[in-house]
Symmetry: C2
Subunit: 313 residues, 2 copies
């Protein structure tokens, strides 16, 4: 069995508020066809790929807010993507806002799934690291209310055997946290898929925001290298409802090298033949966890949530 | 009180086996004076800075092996560095092989210390992540026997208030492991000092070893950014006893940007004015650990040492 995964990252330009799910899905289907034409068997789509990035607004009307969520997957409007997947024999990763009844209550998550080449869901993840705020911040042109509209994911960081290897996933802000990659690395992950929506004004500090593109790549490259895994990061980007978002979707090798990158801020497909065995030499030498890790020295990572500095002298 | 630390990285070219401690110390003193002349109050020296990098050899003679270790710090030959520190009012970080009697037995560590501007030791660290092997590997031109000559550090990753901020340290291979930075980040670290000796043949795989310089910076830049801290990484480099080692000593800002870098493979001082408050904006926004971290999802990091992949289907 080949250990090469022919993968694509299918970046999306903006989805205006006025664009329907049906239209968004047709864009995804078109890119899936293009990826197939270029030999891909797996396509990674962005975060919240079926609608505009609604956490930028304070939405008080519950019905309006819930119109952005999926109550079934696939549902009537998203089914064509699954049908095309099965027809073409192309699997995919996609992220969406999920509304479910669980434990007797209505719950909302920022969710992603891996779908195999038969159009069947094989894995589900719910975003652990929610950025932004739960209350609107005064003075911000665009809000970032993910902490209001979602609760933190309750499924942990899982991995799944698919596409001939060990696949993992995460979403957007998760990529900045080394714990994300490491928990999957400890489960032998060989490819991590993720989608993101990252506005250039996400912190509100010009010095940080000006480095958004650099930080985007730095986090994914370090996560790939330090865990001997492929990382495929796919943006929704460009100017969406007045908010400018970073593009530069990438396919990163286990060396940490970027081997493919999007060059536009529009719908764009990039591809690479990803040899899962490249990670092996790293896992067997400098990153042989069983030989080199020292978990006793890491206890603070789980015992402490926030930073606590030593007392002032 | 100023929050700017005027810091230097004092890279060393090779130390031949024939060079005495006294000669090595005189090189360190000369660089300390140069750093002082350029306004520095703190100098970061390399790993195992008083001798050649002896773990490249299988040394069977115990007396010969122990000649590379320090049994006191300062000792007669290293004292001039501490005297110069006090005289100039320049603190420093340095790493050395440590031989101690602890718990009724002879123990060996790869150790580093922080010395304040009065020439007094204020913090001590023992390398946690020992690379290489405990037995010689057949077919290697240069061995890497740190696992034979040292035991893993037993002091954890501490931080200390010094130089007007919260200082941390680690050594060489520690810098590749995100846990290193994170444990210090959770203690509010603002500047991490580290020295390294990294031969270009450290894994024995040409594809990995060819990226040594890239990986050197990637790890330190990600560690700095993801923990909102300055990182100062100082090499011993160049061709030492036939082994070529990477240079490119750097001062990395909390943005992850390299703000100073050595351009030679010789003794070379680089400096930067490091504003500890730059990290604050990161710690208060995207890396506000108390708001954003989710330790429950990280448990595997301490519960598992080696990677365990899911069973094959």
């Amino acid at each position: 069995m080949s250990r090469i995964v022919k993968a694509a990252s299918a970046q999306m330009g903006p989805i205006p508020k006025s664009q329907s799910r049906k239209q968004a899905v047709s864009r995804l289907v078109a890119m899936m066809r293009e990826a197939k034409g270029r030999g891909a068997e797996l396509v990674v789509f962005p975060e919240l790929a079926f609608t505009t990035f609604f956490p930028r607004w304070m939405i008080e009307d519950e019905a309006e807010l819930e119109s952005y969520y999926e109550t079934e997957m696939p549902g009537p409007e998203t089914a064509p993507l699954f049908e095309e997947s099965k027809k073409l024999g192309v699997g995919f990763y996609v992220s969406y806002a999920e509304l479910v009844n669980e434990g007797g209550r209505r719950r909302r998550f920022n969710t992603s799934i891996i779908v195999d080449r038969n159009g069947e869901i094989v894995g589900k993840y719910r975003k652990v690291h929610l950025p932004g705020h739960s209350e609107p911040q005064p003075g911000r042109v665009h809000q970032h209310l993910e902490k209001r509209y979602f609760e933190p994911g309750n499924l942990g960081f899982g991995v799944w055997r698919a596409f001939g290897g060990v696949m993992g996933m995460c979403i957007c802000n998760d990529r900045r946290w080394p714990e994300t990659y490491r928990v999957m690395g400890l489960q032998g992950v060989e490819m991590i898929m993720l989608g993101y929506n990252t506005p250039f004004d996400h912190t509100g500090h010009a010095d940080i925001d000006g480095l958004t593109s650099f930080h985007n790549h730095l986090s994914m490259q370090a996560g790939a290298y330090q865990n001997s895994t492929w990382v495929i990061g796919t943006a929704k980007c460009g100017k969406e409802e007045g908010s400018s978002m970073v593009g530069q979707s990438v396919i990163v090798a286990p060396s940490g090298e970027i081997v493919a990158m999007a060059a536009t801020l529009e719908d764009e497909v990039i591809t690479a033949n990803c040899d899962l065995d490249i990670g092996k030499r790293y896992r067997q030498t400098i990153f042989d966890f069983a030989r080199h890790r020292e978990p006793e020295a890491y206890r603070l990572i789980v015992e402490r949530k926030g930073a606590i500095a030593p007392p002032e002298n």
